[in-house]
Amino acid sequence: MVCNTSGPVVHEPNLAKIAAACGYSPQVCGYEASATLICKLPLAYSAFMVDVFRALDDQTRRLVLDELSVRDGQTLFEICSTLTMRHGLSLTRQAISQHLGVLESAGLVVTERRGRSKFHYFSPEPLAEITARWPTRRRTEQ
């Protein structure tokens, strides 16, 4: 690489995903694009992680992730009924739909159509970025 990238280290396996999430073409990930574009990746990475932290900075969205990690692949209706019945939240369907949109744009939730319905899945990769940057170690191991 021509340029010296500063800032957080972008872990290569996730480079493609982050680049795609930030609107870069797949060629960037294949190191075929110009050095200029590659140099922008740390910046794009920062923007991406800001989205992740913002998405997590909300109790309802954390509950949605809790529920999806218990049982992955839920419809909007199922998520709404679980939040209402199990967690006593009385939010409109539109509000929950917007929360899911925030989680999806941060890469924490992905959707998949099966038949005529849309299912939501928890995608933990952005969280792996956090632990890769700040590894969790037990005190005794230090």
Partner: protein
């Protein structure tokens, strides 16, 4: 006042009658020719004089966008009560019925949602015997 009849739109009335009677186990109540279609209703064998479910033709142009939007978000059109939802889930799955939501404990009840093969999602509910429902855990 009491609820005598409610309806679900179905893509094909004969296929719907087969599914609602042979697979779900309802009983045919009325089957009256009505132009190109039929006034076709089923009732629960547990309550033959109870509310009828009209299997209504889906040919009105408003029906498709309405149902597509509901199905996309997983929203059921009707709710049927069962005594043993796990047994019904196993029985229906064995008959090829696809569930968008497996039996799920929501506190006061266990619910599940399946595709009725006629264009709708239907919710099953097994209400729990009276206990303290206030504790969401």
């Amino acid at each position: 006042m009491k609820i005598a009849l409610t309806s679900v739109f179905v893509d094909d009335q004969r296929a719907a009658l087969a599914f609602y009677t042979e697979v779900l186990g309802f009983t045919k109540r009325r089957d009256v020719p009505l132009g190109d279609n039929f006034w076709l209703t089923v009732v629960s064998p547990e309550s033959l004089d109870g509310p009828e479910l009209l299997l209504e033709p889906s040919d009105h142009p408003a029906v498709k966008p309405y149902r597509d939007a509901l199905v996309e978000d997983g929203i059921p059109l009707a709710q049927f009560a069962v005594d043993d939802i796990e047994a019904e889930h196993a029985r229906l799955t064995g008959n090829g019925v696809v569930f968008t939501q497996p039996p799920t404990d929501i506190g006061a009840a266990v619910v599940a949602v399946f595709d009725d093969t006629c264009g709708n999602l239907i919710q099953l509910i097994e209400e729990k015997p009276d206990e303290n429902h206030d504790d969401p855990s």
